[in-house]
């Protein structure tokens, strides 16, 4: 797992300036777009969300101290996504901070197992195991194990404590492993 969040504490990134904004966000764009893809229904919405995130981040640059830049950007993305959802589906969001609640609603912009299977084309046995996860569990697996976020970064993206990310992730993997323990493809590759 990437350890940006661990190294930032000892080697803080210098606070970016407006003029260095492009250089500052450039390395984070692939992750932002990937996470946006996990939060949105389609790639067009994902790109729009990242655009919104960049504009918000630029406006907020003066208040940013340079520490944990990816988590900072992911937090901005989460808030931008909440606002987008409120604009698009005002009746669905009762609490602006309840992105978890959004993920639990089947018609919310959280990736379904079918979406994941269709867009990532995983091995059938992985698609089968993913399809058995709840939306909450699927979301953390997507962010951490597929998109490569740290616990802290996934927490920033979802607006939940890192400990909650960890417990959901571990439970999700445990369930996937329990399901796959009887799967011939998984067993043949592991034993």
């Amino acid at each position: 797992m990437a350890d940006e969040s661990q190294t930032s504490a000892t080697n803080p990134t210098p606070a970016p300036t407006a003029g260095s904004f492009g250089t500052f966000v450039g390395p984070h764009l692939p992750v932002l777009l990937r996470v946006a893809g996990s939060l949105c229904r389609n790639t067009h919405d994902a790109e729009d969300l990242v655009q919104d995130t960049l504009i918000r981040a630029f406006k907020a640059l003066d208040g940013f101290d340079g520490a944990y830049p990816r988590a900072w950007l992911l937090t901005i993305m989460r808030n931008a996504n909440i606002n987008r959802n409120r604009r698009q589906r005002p009746g669905l969001l009762h609490d602006a901070t309840d992105l978890e609640g959004v993920a639990d609603r089947r018609n919310a912009p959280s990736p379904s197992a079918e979406d994941v299977a269709a867009t990532r084309a995983p091995a059938p046995w992985i698609a089968d195991a993913l399809g058995r996860l709840s939306p909450r569990h699927l979301q953390v697996v997507q962010l951490v194990d597929v998109d490569g976020l740290t616990y802290d970064e996934a927490a920033a993206a979802l607006g939940i404590p890192a400990g909650t990310v960890m417990s959901r992730l571990h439970r999700a993997r445990h369930r996937m492993r329990a399901h796959l323990s009887h799967h011939p493809d998984f067993r043949s590759e592991t034993r």
């Binding site: 990937r34 597929v146 993997r173």
Partner: protein
Amino acid sequence: MTPHAMLDMFRRKGGARCIEIGRQIQTYLDDGLDPASAAKVASHLHACRRCGLTAEDYRRLKSALAETSTPMPAEPLQRLQALAADLATGDKPT
């Protein structure tokens, strides 16, 4: 054999250690343990076949999930990079 006796036997065979390690395997594989704890888990996984196989399952699962990640298409990334550059130079309204 009574449940108490079974528990005693389980502990004598190192089962308590396995339970403790089992709780840390996923965090260990995610590089989330401090060095001392990681060394203890690594040592146990090397010595205990059952826990070693459990760890191997999770490694395989994590690897398979990571492989489902596809490269981002170039065009959206280029557009976003251009937007960031435009913001930096003040070419776009904010």
